[in-house]
Amino acid sequence: VTAAERTAAAATTGLTAPAETPVAEAMSSEILAVATGASLGDVARTMARYGVHGVAVEGEPMGFVSDLDLVAAAADASVELPRPAVTVPADATLVQAGREMGRHGVSHLVVTGADGRPAGVVSALDVARHIAFGRPER
């Protein structure tokens, strides 16, 4: 990737670098969620149908099941799901979100708004997109 290509990509996408990007700007504001009483089979089918690596589970607090959680539960029946979602505030930066992903070993964070309620989901791929095409604001 040449510097010229990077500049062109940034001009096209208008993306900013991760350190300067609030999570709210990169997240998906649609949360794919299943009802509290859904089975793990429902979660697996939802993932396969939408090609997503994680599905939220409605409830207080919101739960989350990743594809790795699901596979772990299939391999070991004592694994309890869902687990509580790892959350990040909407005004955190993508650098902070990436650190949380690394610390908790997850690829998806549920984004909470100013009222503390779930407002979206940010994935590792969302952060990668800003690393790839983000242009520092100088």
Partner: protein, 127 residues
């Protein structure tokens, strides 16, 4: 939530042939760009005969680093977990759960060369 039966079949039934790969000195930005452009969650890093897998999570947790001077080899520690196509999927699921890895490298049993990547999503699709 209700329990789930282990997946039936073998690795070859769920794996998708081919893999996105890069050299160990590829920059963080290049790896991120490969993930974003191909909408994949893992890139295989080939360092001579040694293979490792860098995931989108590895890339995201390195977002604080310089994207143009950080190298692919610095993003993930340790070799990829490898499996063969005939391995039962249930066993592959156990390996993923044991090592908390989302991607296994599927290698040819004779040549040991990589054939495919098996992801947790591929396994979830068979549950």
């Amino acid at each position: 939530m209700t329990a789930l039966a282990p997946p039936a079949g073998r690795v070859r039934d769920a794996m998708r042939l081919g893999l996105v790969r890069c050299p160990p000195d590829a920059s963080l930005r290049t790896v991120a760009r490969m993930l974003a452009s191909y909408a994949v969650h893992a890139v295989a890093v080939m360092d001579g005969d040694d293979w490792s897998i860098v995931t989108a999570r590895d890339v995201a947790s390195a977002a604080w680093r310089d994207p143009d001077t950080t190298r692919a080899r610095e993003l993930h520690a340790g070799p990829a977990v490898t499996v063969e196509p005939d391995l039962p999927l249930a066993r592959a699921a156990e390996l993923m759960a044991r090592d908390r890895v989302t991607h296994l490298l599927v290698v040819d049993p004779e040549t040991r060369l990589p054939l495919a990547v098996l992801s947790t999503l591929d396994v979830a699709g068979r549950l």
